[in-house]
């Protein structure tokens, strides 16, 4: 098990390297100039050139990348052009809201998707199944910023149930404030998980071991939960894992809609200010988060499924 984890962690190095290169190049493709962003539109060319030289932007792009990598290896992520602080410090402060939002929306996704998937699978072809299919398709199709605005209008502006935006100082306040953003993210992912569960649970309910469970005299509830769902949840969790990248992308949008002071908000504002070091580190962090979550879901899969346990770790 430990060797498996170590091997997976080592595999992250080339992935991270790829991310740094891609982001490094993409950032420089954004039209606009950091010196201009720092100095404003009235800056003189001389001043601009001086700033560019100070930031190291006057060198060749290959050289810039190598210097960037060298500092990375030394644990130096650079100084934010905009905030003037070490990027590492800046990003670490923004990590927690994003991670909380991710975890929160994952939990809400499951809380929505599992009962809905069970209902759809057990009512297959009947009313509830059709309704859920329509709702799920809508949930998937609507962009999260739009859903976010609708939820704000409905639950915050009209009914005053939740705050429009913000984060909070206590955990209670944070969970309360983050509920709408987390729900917004979840509404995009839950339909995928629900559909996967509908399919896998439908299959599981037709499997031979269900006959065995029923022939033991188990009540319908035990047959459904401790036999069918126990097997069917695995592919559904797999789909959730595969869509973590999508969920992370959603948090970026949603943090901006709801003014959550997380990585996504930092990323969008840094793009606005052409704050290259910050964009680079935030994106690298997102990449690492996604890869780590993949690892966690794979480990979860191994824990929950004795059939892969043996073959994967062996």
């Amino acid at each position: 098990m430990l060797t498996y984890i170590v091997r997976r962690l080592l595999l992250m190095i080339p992935v991270a390297l790829g991310i740094t290169l891609a982001v490094f190049l993409l950032v420089r493709l954004i039209p606009g100039d950091p010196a201009r962003a720092i100095l404003g539109i009235h800056a003189t060319p001389v001043l601009m050139a001086a700033v560019r030289a100070r930031l190291g932007l006057d060198r060749g792009i290959g050289m810039q990348y190598l210097l960037y990598l060298r500092s990375l290896v030394q644990g130096d992520f650079g100084i934010s052009y905009y905030y003037g602080q070490p990027v590492a410090q800046l990003v670490l402060g923004r990590m927690v809201p994003t991670l909380v939002l991710l975890l929160y929306s994952t939990i809400i996704s499951l809380v929505i998707a599992i009962p809905a998937g069970i209902l759809a699978a057990t009512q297959q072809g009947r009313g509830a199944d059709h309704v859920l299919r329509v709702v799920a398709t809508a949930g998937l199709g609507l962009p999260s910023y739009w859903t976010g605005f609708i939820l704000i209008l409905l639950l915050s502006v009209t009914f005053h149930l939740f705050p429009i935006a913000g984060y909070g100082n206590t955990w209670g306040a944070r969970l309360y404030n983050l509920f709408l953003p987390a729900l917004t993210c979840a509404l995009n992912v839950a339909p995928l998980v629900m559909r996967a569960l509908r399919t896998s649970l439908g299959e599981a309910l037709g499997a031979g071991f269900i006959d065995t469970a029923r022939a033991k005299g188990l009540p319908a509830r035990a047959v459904l939960l401790s036999h069918a769902l126990r097997v069917a949840i695995l592919p559904a969790l797999h789909v959730l894992g595969l869509n973590i990248g999508f969920l992370v992308g959603n948090t970026v949008l949603v943090e901006n809609v709801f003014a959550v002071p997380g990585l996504g908000q930092l990323m969008i504002s840094s793009i606005g200010t052409r704050d290259y070091p910050t964009i680079q580190m935030v994106t690298l962090m997102f990449g690492i988060i996604v890869v780590l979550i993949y690892l966690i879901t794979d480990l979860g899969q191994i824990m929950l499924d004795p059939r892969v346990r043996r073959s994967e770790i062996g």
Binding site: A207, G208, F209, D211, T212, A213, R214, A215, K216, G217, L218, P219, A220, A222, S226, H227, R230, V231, L234, L304, D305, P306, R307, R310
Partner: protein
């Protein structure tokens, strides 16, 4: 011996459009306490449908359309789900054909065996565990503690079927239904599992209904046998009579097709043709298309039941000759 299970004019069908397609028609038989009763016939003749109906585990849209299934004074065909749950496992246990799909792949074997006890009786967790290990020993699983902690994919086919039998037996049913319990297994393992079932039946004093497409299996295991064809019982008899003096032409054909030394000297004759689709059964005898004894009257109406003096009977207008010397009873 007292009658334990009485299947009485059982009909099973599936709705198709505004009609019902009959899968099983007018099936009646009785299983006595402690006896071993075989149901034999080609694939698709309605054996699984019949025994699944007994504990009301029909697949898909199949429904009981007629008749009764009396067990312990209760008509299971009419019983409510809660009554069925208390009979399943504790009154009637069931073993299925494929032991790999019959076991839950993500739960330990021990848990699956002990699970039935949670819903039958009031045993403590420790007692359930002890009973589980005992049941595993009873079905001949080696090293019960280790196997209890294993998952189905870690066991061999024979061990899986033994585990499935332990699942069916753990709550001490008086009747065990076994639907082709050896068909999915290697030949050598088949014999072991059959011996185990016979052995358990006599040790535990329970009755066994054994479904198989193989008359050889029936010969080794059963006291009486019903031969099914196209959703009906076409012949029923004590085991000796079936082998010594089969009356229905289908039974004769089945016997001629046994690929075994037990019928040494007889050439192997697989039965030509196919059983009719349940949706398109002929109006007369459904075996007519394949029957060597067929005459014109066979195709007009279905043959009725002719009881046999020694118990059982057959449904045929032109049966094979009765041997006078066959001892009755």
């Amino acid at each position: 011996m007292v009658d334990l299970l009485t299947v009485d004019h059982l009909g099973i069908g599936i709705p198709r459009g505004s009609n019902t397609v009959a899968l099983v028609e007018d099936v009646s038989f009785t299983v006595r306490a402690g006896e071993s009763y075989g149901i034999v016939g080609e694939s698709g003749c309605g054996k699984s449908t019949t025994i699944r109906a007994i504990i009301r585990l029909l697949t898909g849209k199949a429904r009981i359309t007629r008749g009764a299934v009396r067990f312990d004074g209760v008509d299971l065909a009419q019983a409510k789900e809660s009554a069925l749950q208390s009979i399943r496992g504790a009154g009637i246990g069931m073993v299925f054909q494929d032991p790999l799909t019959a076991l839950n792949p993500v739960l330990t074997v021990g848990r699956q065996i002990a699970e039935g006890l949670r819903y039958h009786g009031q045993l403590s967790a420790a007692d359930r565990h002890a009973r589980m290990l005992e049941a595993m020993r009873l079905v001949g699983l080696p090293d019960p503690a280790r196997i209890a902690a294993s998952y189905p994919h870690e066991l061999s086919g024979g061990q899986r079927q033994r585990a499935a039998i332990a699942i069916a037996l753990i709550a001490s049913p008086r009747l065990l239904l076994a639907d082709e319990p050896t068909t999915a297994l290697d030949v050598t393992i088949q014999a072991q599992i059959l011996r185990l079932l016979s052995d358990l039946r006599s040790r535990l004093g329970m009755a066994l209904v054994l479904v198989t497409h193989d008359l050889g299996v029936v010969a080794q295991t059963c006291d009486r046998v019903a031969v099914m064809y196209s959703g009906r019982i076409v012949e029923e008899a004590p085991i000796r009579r079936i082998f010594e003096n089969p009356r229905h032409p289908y039974t004769v054909a089945l016997l001629n097709s046994i690929p075994r030394g037990s019928r040494a000297g007889h050439p192997l004759h697989p039965i030509a043709g196919m059983p009719p689709d349940p949706a398109h059964r002929p109006s007369g005898c459904s075996f007519a298309a394949r029957c060597p004894n067929r005459q014109t009257d066979c195709e007009a109406v279905a043959p009725g039941w002719t009881p046999d003096a020694g118990g059982g009977g057959f449904a045929c207008f032109h049966p094979a000759r009765a041997h006078a010397e066959v001892p009755h009873g």
